[in-house]
Symmetry: C2
Subunit: 338 residues, 2 copies
């Protein structure tokens, strides 16, 4: 039909089709003031007719600011997915016309490689969800662009943090168990994952605060169902079976539940289980999971506001600590009489 492969229409083509200058076409396409209502309709109609679509690359290049916020997150982590959903659902506050650019962290592709493209696109701020990059590396990224860390605690000048109070949250969980009469409470650890160190410490602190320092029992775990299962198997092989198990997060807790029930134990009659996060799965586990709620929608909103504000230099980096809340479902109960 056409004598060569059809070139995508540009602003010049649009201007031709609408019979006006490119400047005016540009004004209409970006909804800027300075065009009459009649012209606006004419240009929009022409755009529709010729299939014009603004080139984001040229637009972003020409503008002084890219209008982008980068988000690095682990694709296969449901908790991260919840946060990303939250980021999109935030009603863009007036004046915050940032778009989000996702950077996927996947096995074999480190956070570094994920962030590189975000920087090359000149994101004006980067939200890092639960990544364990060394502080030195964070600092260097911070030199190039504002950084908001979500769900990870870091004490470093210039780096913004949005997190739930892990220490307090884990305390709520352990005290809930203690309140139910439990003394033999084991802890399935989260290893190197964000928040794990703080939650582990809180478990220890809380046990000690209630005179149970000598009952502390931490087993290696992780942030997946598999690791929860393995940790529980190890616990059950031991001499003394705990009457309650607290896990680093809900996925691990789900594994704990699974293993206990596979082993023929009843929850919560024989063993109580408590998680952390109040992830979506917590409602549909075999026994609905008692857990500590992190408000992902709120975290997402705060993170986005912080990122936008930092990008526009409306405030300086700081730390936003959100309050966790105990959500009691059915996986915890009174200590069994033995």
């Amino acid at each position: 039909m056409t004598e060569q492969a059809r070139r995508r229409p540009t602003l010049v083509d649009l201007a031709d089709a609408a019979g006006c200058s490119t400047s005016l076409a540009s004004i209409v396409m970006r909804g800027a003031p300075g065009a009459s209502e009649a012209t606006r309709r004419r240009v929009m109609a022409a755009a529709e007719r010729i299939g014009y679509r603004p080139d984001q690359r040229a637009r972003s290049l020409r503008r002084s600011t890219s209008g982008l916020i980068g988000v690095a997150y682990h694709v296969s982590e449901p908790f991260h997915a919840d946060l990303v959903e939250g980021l999109y659902e935030v009603e863009a506050p007036s004046g915050d016309d940032f778009d989000l650019v996702l950077g996927a962290v996947v096995p074999g592709r480190g956070v570094e490689q994920t962030i590189e493209p975000l920087l090359r696109q000149r994101c004006e701020a980067i939200i890092l969800i639960g990544t364990m990059l060394p502080v030195a590396r964070l600092r260097r990224i911070r030199e190039e662009t504002p950084l908001v860390l979500v769900a990870r605690r870091v004490r470093a000048a210039g780096i913004d943090v949005v997190r739930t109070d892990d220490h307090d949250g884990q305390r709520l969980a352990i005290e809930h168990l203690i309140g139910l009469g439990h003394r033999s409470i084991a802890y399935v650890d989260g290893g190197q994952h964000p928040g794990a160190a703080t939650r582990r410490r809180s478990y220890r602190d809380t046990m000690a605060a209630h005179g149970l320092g000598d009952r502390v029992r931490v087993v290696a775990g992780g942030n997946t169902e598999e690791e929860g299962i393995r940790a529980t198997r190890r616990l059950l092989e031991g001499d003394e079976r705990p009457t309650a198990i607290a896990a680093f997060n809900d996925r691990a807790a789900t594994g704990v539940l699974t293993m206990l029930i596979r082993a023929g134990l009843r929850v919560p009659e024989d063993v109580s289980v408590i998680g952390f996060d109040d992830a979506r799965i917590a409602r549909t586990t075999i026994v609905p999971l008692t857990t500590v709620r992190q408000d992902t929608a709120l975290m997402a909103r705060v993170a986005r506001e912080r990122a936008a504000g930092l990008a526009r230099q409306r405030f300086v980096a700081g730390e936003q600590v959100l309050v966790p809340e105990l959500t009691v479902r059915q996986s915890t109960g009174p200590v069994p009489r033995s």
Copy 2:
């Protein structure tokens, strides 16, 4: 320190710092032939020193091709997350130096809104994972850029499809149950989700082919644990309890398992359960799930190859159908003697 906010270094700054022309600096930065080894080292050192980072927007604008493949997927769908991981893990075939751009589909933000930014970035192909856009809309997108549909069947000229044979897969599942002696096999449906219609039909066809046409029983379900739970509750309220339940996917099957066990039934002694997908969770459900395997790594690789090939016009759109495989675990067993 500096008299104004520090401007990001550009190629010009780099050329100054390295004492060469911008052309030469450009050649070095993109690893093109035409620079001596000595120059290369000098420029790279200068880049490191002044913190130069190529501007992706300018680069992409100037090149004739953007070098991007867009990927639209549902953030909170674990099966999609697996596919996205797979897309990144593909060893980029030589010559395929495409980068991936993610477009997140989240509640309240339709596929349309997800795709728009991908088109504005001039992606050279778009991979759509399991979305239910009407065919007419798909065709219109296809006019702008090559389209690869993953895990959804569509008969439309010009649209590339990569999918597992849902009909055959569901047949494997049902025949596995029939082979174990089951006659009363219920089906938890997937509603409007991709593949659901085909799998439902396959359930019906397979039952009929084995003389069980009058035992067909489809209950409304969905693609989540919640919906699996609700569907099963409805099934259990009925008069005749099925001896086996097949579900649209593993998440729904997990809900089925959960509800059965909450109701005090044993799996597979009282009721067998079979899923679809072989998602990650299938191994860690309360009873390891028998299911039909979709090879996400392979689907991802094929999808990426197709997308790259279509972008470069190396081949025309077609349909790639992958073979499903039964994975027997422990949630299925012989029909109980009554």
